[in-house]
Each structure stands twice: as structure tokens, then as C-alpha cells.
Symmetry: C2
Subunit: 247 residues, 2 copies
């Protein structure tokens, strides 16, 4: 099945050019020529039909022949705040997957028990762009740089919406203390609300981190009885939010 290529061209409406890497891909890899038509998106919710007027491998110039807004994929907004895993690949994988399932923003938070204290934003952004292109999306999720958890909680304090924290006291054998204590995300997700789910690091949140979140009105949730890795829990939350907010 020949797959239509979607180009990422944030400037297309303003300058009518493709970025250097996309220009090289169009001209050098796909061997596109003047007169060829292409399909692009600006990362801000708009798709474009365009025709190449100057097939330059450095700055391919196009003429926009049409454009249309992306259709929304869910109600309210879907955001995730995750403590990066020790293994950076797992966060890059998460960025790809949540871009596919549909997310508005991905925040990275630094927790007491975080084993990873740095995260390469540009790598994550590259992955998000390629995942958006691959899944034919016109909107790039917002990727927020690593921020200390307490600062993140402060920043969120005045923000409306549903704030949920998935912390789990490991009781071994795949039990999840919250499974009994806290409601399952699927039971409390508000379809039309702006919802953010906070997922802790491999070592879980520190007790005072959870206490502070609860004090600030965050609600504890369960993602079920299974013991999930950080990135698995984060993607499960994104999947359940997308399903709960489906149009």
C-alpha cells in the first residue's frame, strides 16, 4: 500500500518553504521535482496541499493550493506529566506513542526518586514530529522541558480541570494499593474536562510529593491491579483518556 508522505512545514503559510531536512527529503530522497504536488502540515492544526515551484534540497519552495484545519480527535484536553525513566529510550518511545494516540501536552517532571535528571528535548521533539507525520496529524503535542515536581504542582495550581495522580504503593505480586483505595481512571475520567494525569518515577513518588499533590487538589487514581512500568502506565493513561474523551 503506497503511503502518502506528510511533510512538516511550520512556515509553509508564511514563507512557502519547507525546512532544510524536509526539503532534502523531498528532493534528494523522494526525488520530487518542480510541479510535483505534496501534502504538508504546520504542526499547529492545519493541513496544506502544495505544489513545488523550486525543488531546492536546502529550502524547497512551494505554492499552497489549498489548506484545511485538522478535525479534533477528542473532547477537552489530554495532558500527561511523567517522571522520565532511567532509560531515555522508554521516554522517546512514550513520546511517539502518545503522539499517535492523541495528546495535547506531554510534561516531564523531576521527582525525588527520579533516576534520570536530564532529558534531551530536541530528541523528544524530533520523535514527536516524526510520529505526527506518520500518524497523519497536523498538530504537534506540546512537549514541556523537565521541571521539578513541586514547581510543576505550583504551576498547575491555578489551572482548571481534572488533575489526577497515579501513585502506587507496591505490595508485590502485581497488586496495587490504589486499585482498592483509588478509583480507576476509566471510572472518573470527565469527557469534556481538561484532564492531566501525573505518573511517577520507577521508584514511585516520595510520600511528601503525593501529600503535596493531594493538598493541592489532585485526585489519586488507579490504573488497575497490574504493576506497570512508568512508560506503560503513562501510555495506558493516555489511551484511557483518549477513549473517555472520544467524540
Amino acid at each position: 500500500m503506497k503511503e502518502q508522505h506528510l511533510f512538516y512545514a511550520p512556515e509553509i503559510a508564511l514563507t512557502g518553504t519547507l525546512p532544510a531536512d524536509e526539503s532534502a527529503h523531498a528532493v534528494r530522497v523522494l526525488r520530487m521535482r518542480t510541479g510535483d504536488s505534496l501534502w504538508a502540515m504546520d504542526g499547529q492544526g492545519r493541513f496544506y496541499d502544495a505544489e513545488i515551484t523550486e525543488a531546492s534540497p536546502r529550502a524547497c519552495v512551494v505554492e499552497v493550493t489549498g489548506s484545511r484545519p485538522e478535525r479534533p480527535t477528542h473532547r477537552g484536553s489530554i495532558r500527561l506529566a511523567v517522571a522520565p525513566t532511567k532509560n531515555a529510550d522508554r521516554m522517546e518511545w512514550l513520546a511517539e506513542k502518545v503522539t499517535e494516540t492523541g495528546i495535547d501536552a506531554l510534561h516531564f517532571v523531576l521527582c525525588r526518586n527520579s533516576e534520570r535528571k536530564v532529558l534531551k528535548d530536541e530528541r523528544i521533539n524530533r520523535i514527536v514530529i516524526s510520529a505526527a507525520k506518520q500518524s497523519h496529524k497536523a498538530t504537534l503535542p506540546q512537549v514541556e522541558s523537565l521541571c521539578p515536581l513541586m514547581q510543576f504542582l505550583k504551576d498547575e495550581a491555578n489551572r482548571p480541570g481534572q488533575k489526577l495522580i497515579a501513585h502506587c504503593l507496591d505490595m508485590g505480586e502485581g497488586d496495587d494499593a490504589m486499585a482498592s483505595a483509588a478509583p480507576h481512571l476509566a471510572d472518573i475520567i470527565e469527557a469534556d474536562a481538561d484532564t492531566v494525569v501525573l505518573i511517577g518515577p520507577e521508584g514511585d513518588f516520595a510520600p511528601d510529593e503525593v501529600a503535596e499533590a493531594l493538598r493541592l487538589g489532585w485526585q489519586a487514581i488507579s490504573l488497575g491491579p497490574c504493576r506497570l512500568r512508568t512508560e506503560t502506565a503513562a501510555l495506558a493513561a493516555a489511551t484511557l483518556m483518549a477513549a473517555g474523551k472520544r467524540l
Copy 2:
């Protein structure tokens, strides 16, 4: 946070020994000695407490001091049938993730448009074992070898339960023809039923493959408006099944 190690010992009840690789890990890596206690599972739903009586790095001998069955994590049964992706890593990643989220069986089917015609079972099995240990599960999901789709459909014909097929006519821009035509998995999942979801290859199913499934009583479902990669769709289906069948 010190993490308790769970050993995989399928023979523990019968022979009181750990497999060679687990023995080496216990004695050489973890430097465990005679008298040390360890925690194991047999892959068939039982956890064991044991004490090392002979710390051999080839066949560590233990004495079982206690055992208990794993608590169920969901109602009915959860099965996935997936056409392997061209990139084998994505299937290995899927095997890890669905083991975490909880699945009873993972089938691999060969479709007309499958770009991958072979799959290394032993690699998938190794990943499933390590994911089960990591997520503290005592039951290993059944991993079925790659089977031609038409044969798989025949094999399933006499099996009771809910049979769902997620096929999507790509209409570009992340639209999913089934999103309007077919019900969303979350809307039709039967909590107590044995449910299997069939996910097609990158090139989607061939029309006659879908027709045959529908003829045999499979129901078309949607996983939402987003255009998901094969492994992302499969994990989303597993996540939604686990949530829909939660206890």
C-alpha cells in the same frame, strides 16, 4: 527503592531447582548463598517462597517454604491476534507491554499484506518471561507462533466469546473510516466474556480477509479516530480490554 527480585522457576514445585539462567543470576550476579530466601513464580499462576539449599550457578537447589496462587487481574479472558510489523522490535516491545497490562494469549497472524513472514518465538518468549518477572506476575501469557490468518480464523470458528476485528480504511489525515462505521471497542467490550481482538498489518487487511472474518462472525470495531501503528493499536486494544474487564 530496593526492588525484590522474582525468579522464573517453572519446575520449582517438581524439582525444587531454578533453570540454568536463573541459577546463574542468583548465584553469580546476586551472589546469593545457601540459606538465602528467594521469591519465585512458575509461570502458571503460582508464587513461591523458597530458601536456597545448594547455591549452584548451574542448577540452584531450593526448598519451597510457601506458595500461593496469583490473584486474577481481570474477568473473562483477554487475547490479541496481531500481524507482526516489519520491524521485529515493535513486536517484542508489544509482547513486553501486553504482558504488563495483562493478557492471556498473544497470537501472531500472517496476512496478505504482512511485510514480515517470520518471527522468532524464543525471543518473544524471553521478553514475556522478563516482563512477567518485572511486573510481578506468576502467569505467563500464552504466545502462539505465526499462523496464516485464514487458518487462525478457522481455528477460532468453534471458540466461544467476543471476536473483534480492528481494520481501518485509511482516509488520510488520521481519519479512520471505522470510527464512524464501527463501534468503539470501549463501547462494546463485554466485561465477563472471553474477548479476542484482531489487529492487521501495516498495509491493513486485504478486503477478502476482512470479508471472511465478518462472515465467520467477527465484529468490526474502531479504536478511535487516530491513525495508530500496528503495535500501538494492539496495545490500545489490550489496555481497553483490561480496563473493560477490571474486577
